[in-house]
Symmetry: C2
Subunit: 204 residues, 2 copies
Amino acid sequence: MLRDNHSIKLLDEAVEAFSSLPGVGRKSALRLALHILNQPRESVDRFVKSISSLSKDIKYCPVCRMISDSGLCPFCGDKSRDSSIICVVESIRDVLSIENTSQYNGHYHILGGIISPMDGVGPNDLPIKELIDRIASGDVLEVVFALSTSMEGETTSFYLFKKLSQFPIKITTIARGVGFGDELEYTDELTLGRSILNRQLFKP
Amino acid sequence: MLRDNHSIKLLDEAVEAFSSLPGVGRKSALRLALHILNQPRESVDRFVKSISSLSKDIKYCPVCRMISDSGLCPFCGDKSRDSSIICVVESIRDVLSIENTSQYNGHYHILGGIISPMDGVGPNDLPIKELIDRIASGDVLEVVFALSTSMEGETTSFYLFKKLSQFPIKITTIARGVGFGDELEYTDELTLGRSILNRQLFKP
C-alpha cells in the first residue's frame, strides 16, 4: 500500500490478514481493511467474534465427524433421517453440497481427506476404522461412496470397498455421467464413455 | 447453507459475518468460513487480532485526519515532505491512491466526506475550519483539490475555493485526466499521476 517509510503498521497487518484468505488479492484485502475502518467498533467486534467462535467453539460429531454446535451433528441427531444408509464423503463442504440437492436423507461419514501416497496420507490417517465400527454395529444396510473421480478418490473408494465387502451390505457409488445442461461435445471422453457403459433404461 | 432443522449456528454466524464484507457473496462467505475451520487456532487468532486492532487501536492524525499508528501520520511526520502544499481529498483510500503514483510529495487534508445535501452532509460536517486554520498558520503556499468530478465533488471544490480565496495562496485542482464520473480509487496510476503533475489553477 504505502512505501516503507510511510507505512501504517495496523493497516498493513489487517491487509496481510485479509490477503491470507483464499481468493482475496491485495487490492481486495485493502478494500476490506478500509471497510473495517468505516464500521462501528461493535460491528467489528461481532464480526471478529463470529470467526473466532467458529474456530474455537466448533465441535465435531463423534459419529460422522461433521461439524456441530455441540454433541451429535444435526444429521446424526435427527431421528427422521434414515440411519441405515451412510454416505462417505471427503469433506464438510461435500455434505453441504449434497444437502443442497434435497435428494438424500441418510447419514454421513466424513473422511476429512482421501488416500494419497503423494501427500503422505494413508488409510490409517483417515477414520476408516470408525466407519467399519459403525457398520459392524449392525444397523447399516447401504454405504454410498461420494468421493471424487480423481486417482486418489478412486483408490480410496476401492480400498473402502475391499474393507467393507466382509459385511452383508449394499455398496454403491454416486452415478457418473454427463451433467444436466452439459453439451456432449464438451464432455471429457472418460465421463462420456462411462455414461454410455452405465446407460439406463429410458423412463419417459 | 443448511435448512433450518439442520443448521449449524456457529457456521451460519461466521458465514453471515463474511457475507457482510463488501463484494463477498454467500458462496464465497461459506468458502471463507470453511477455510477458517481448516486453519490452526493460532493463525485464526492472529487473523482476528489484526482486524480487531485495526478497528480498536488505529489513531487519526490531528493535523490531516489520515490514519496512523500513533500521533502524527507518516506524511505530516515526514520532514522530507513539502509542508507548503496541501492536497485535499475525500478519503483515506484517495491518499493511498495518490501515494501509489509517486508523483506527490506534499501534505494532505482528508475531508472524510464531501458536501452532499442529499445525504445531509453540509460544510459544517467536514473539517473545513481545520483546513482554514492550517492555511492561516502561514506556511502553506498551495492547496490542491483532488476531489471526485461528481456534482458533490464540484460543489465541495467550489465551496472550498470561496473559503480559501481570502488567502494569498495558489489554489489548484488535479487535471481533468480523470474521466468524468470515474472514482479516484479506480483510476489507473498513470492517469492519476499525470493529473496531479498537470494540476491547473482553479477557475470557477
